[in-house]
Symmetry: C2
Subunit: 149 residues, 2 copies
């Protein structure tokens, strides 16, 4: 795994009227500060990315469907410089919290059902000055996005 990226198991409290799915508490090990929470839908096969946050930490889980995350470390001071990770989160099989620290390039793709949904709790409210973007195909990130799902 890329240095600083953390996967944390999350609880599901089963109920036949509908389960309760935990995400994050103020007392959780990974929680540092509340800036904002939002949802991002992702259509099957589509890729959103690439993005890099300079200051903001992402705390992501997938309560609906299944999402593949592509991560790439271009921090020249990192022990995992130029390494990649591909991680799938889902409601059913891998209900985990993915913590992505600042400085990691990431993108994500819907890999199940028509629309998956991720929830993202970030420590700083959205600020366009704080992130940078690259197109899906670029010369800096040598990760093949799998379009043959």
């Amino acid at each position: 795994m890329i240095e600083g990226v953390i996967l944390t198991g999350l609880d599901e409290k089963y109920d036949d009227k509908g389960s309760v799915l935990h995400m994050i508490k103020s007392s959780s090990r990974n929680f540092c500060k509340f800036g904002e929470i939002y949802f991002s839908e992702i259509v099957f096969g589509k890729f959103k990315g690439w993005k890099l946050h300079k200051k903001q930490t992402q705390n992501i889980c997938v309560p609906v469907g299944r999402v593949r995350f592509y991560l790439y470390d271009l921090r020249d001071y990192s022990e995992t410089y130029k390494q990649a990770s591909i991680i799938e989160l889902s409601r059913d099989i891998n209900y985990n919290l993915l913590t992505i620290p600042p400085g990691i390039w990431y993108g994500f793709q819907g890999v199940n059902i028509s629309r998956s949904i991720l929830a993202n709790l970030v420590d700083i409210p959205h600020d366009p000055e704080e992130s940078i973007k690259l197109p899906e195909l670029n010369k800096f990130i040598p990760i093949a996005i799998d379009y043959e799902l």
Copy 2:
């Protein structure tokens, strides 16, 4: 509307790869403190409730499906003492944030698709001592739950 209950419109940023749905920011008017965020699924027709929080404030939106909320005010100091409200939130038609202050009896019911999902950001992490429950049918809350959906 019951005194202290607030509905706040939420933004959807449309994207043909999947929309971004806002929920709450640290700078939002209704935000006071972060305690926890979790999801609750609700099966079509089923009712979860009744519950009353003595200290905790609920901030709820429905990113999947459609959920009907039944609220009842038994605070004898309230201007809306013994009044009820029924509010439906959904992803498509009524994407709002419902803020329920402490002291209100509430329950909710899935009214669309097989499973709807609500997200709830609360200001105090879960504490079973802080809430009280009543069964679906009880002699204190004179609201008819609609099972003929």
